[in-house]
Symmetry: C2
């Protein structure tokens, strides 16, 4: 079993253990990891196979350890169904998610796109950002990231341009699917690091636009608006066939 599948496994009575393997900064389980657990809980009870859109609000800081994942169907319609799921630790809700599921199989053909796949050298010709980098959190060890050149923030010189493009895949070779994409969109170092900003996710919305084929994912993370209190990050994921498979936006509260 892969680390992702192992660490998002939910018992029949809705119990999960958040491991520390997906910790981001400050030893907190990554928000996308938490979101993926809720999506997996919903997938068990939804009448359609594909998560189409999921929104998660991070009500409280989660921590590694046991959690409950109550999930319920809100509405099943003719072409889509809606549900909600939460993460609960020590009786308190840490994450509230709402989601919509459908069957994307016949509806995923790309008809129009105004942005293009990130232009990156082949993964083998890129540089790696790895878990051995200074200050890298645990989650960096779960992915293989490949960039055209080392990001400025990594060398202590933020570029001032909060935009990053890179290849990404699970380090243990697990292929991407609709269940793992909600983690992927939050699984890379944030683009705001190029502004020297450290922040935490308030809310994350993921649009899942097509089922990914196996292989590397080409990703683009961009922050366009920063105020004293908050910034957003947009994230796009393209599969190895060049199809946009996920778009996400999150709002982050700036810590420093």
């Amino acid at each position: 079993m892969t680390s992702f599948d192992e660490d998002t496994a939910i018992s029949p009575d809705g119990e999960v253990t958040l491991t520390d393997r997906w910790n981001g900064s400050f030893g907190v389980p990554n928000g996308g990891y938490q979101l993926a657990i809720c999506v997996r809980a919903l997938a068990r009870l939804m009448p359609y196979p594909d998560p189409l859109l999921v929104s998660g609000f991070y009500l409280r800081q989660a921590k590694p350890g046991p959690a409950q994942v109550p999930a319920s169907l809100l509405r099943a319609g003719r072409t889509m169904a809606f549900g909600e799921a939460s993460l609960v630790q020590e009786g308190k809700e840490t994450l509230r998610t709402t989601a919509c599921f459908t069957d994307l199989n016949s509806q995923n053909k790309q008809l129009f796109t105004a942005t293009s796949q990130p232009r990156l050298p082949p993964p083998d010709e890129c540089v790696r950002y790895s878990s051995s980098a200074p200050g890298a959190p645990n989650i960096a060890g779960r992915f293989d990231y490949r960039l055209a050149e080392p990001p400025g923030w990594l060398g202590g010189q933020p570029s001032g341009i909060p935009s990053m493009e890179f290849w990404m895949r699970f380090a243990d070779g697990r292929e991407p699917d609709m269940l793992s994409l909600p983690l992927t969109v939050d699984g890379a170092p944030p683009a705001a690091l190029e502004l020297g900003i450290v922040s935490t996710t308030v809310e994350l919305t993921v649009h899942l636009r097509a089922r990914p084929v196996p292989g590397w994912l080409a990703c683009r993370a961009v922050t366009r608006h920063v105020t004293e209190g908050y910034h957003e990050e947009d994230f796009e994921v393209w599969d190895s066939a060049g199809t946009l498979v996920a778009q996400s936006r999150q709002l982050c509260m700036i810590l420093r």
Copy 2:
């Protein structure tokens, strides 16, 4: 009382009447109008003044007429609070919203922006899209829209470029505020009309980044990814002082 305030008024026991004045296509109350009602219901019980982010899932088609707006606090923290609210008609939930509130007053200074305010001639030198246009829905009568030139779709010649910039304000002169912005982001003709696409909102997420000052709002609506089944629309709102006050993204299901 302005039409917006009148038509989003909620009784002490959580009753509201959806009027037909905000109907979009097909005689269905506009999604942003519905969302604004839920935000207003939440504003009454949240310990912070400003909606910061709201996400709404359109579970069922709403219709003009009475509705209930149950709302509850999910968590009140030191700097922000979370809540949920629904629209319910005839015992069935039509809209499920989750939101986060905070006090934006001291945190709204713009530090970085990667996009600029739409470049438009002054409103007086623009053309109007009005409720007297062929096929215009009721909601078009509630706003004053001003464009640099008439959109292609309006003349039956979609431009093929799903991007629109325009001025917007309430036709009755009501000034924008944090309660009206969730309507504004969904209150204009969709950019996908320039592709000849007609669609309906599945989910709408609004980031409210600053309190708007009075005056015209400069807006930009862009659709970047269209598949056979769905497209997204991003919407930005800039106030008359040139501050980005709202960013939204919605996922739409294509009808034809």
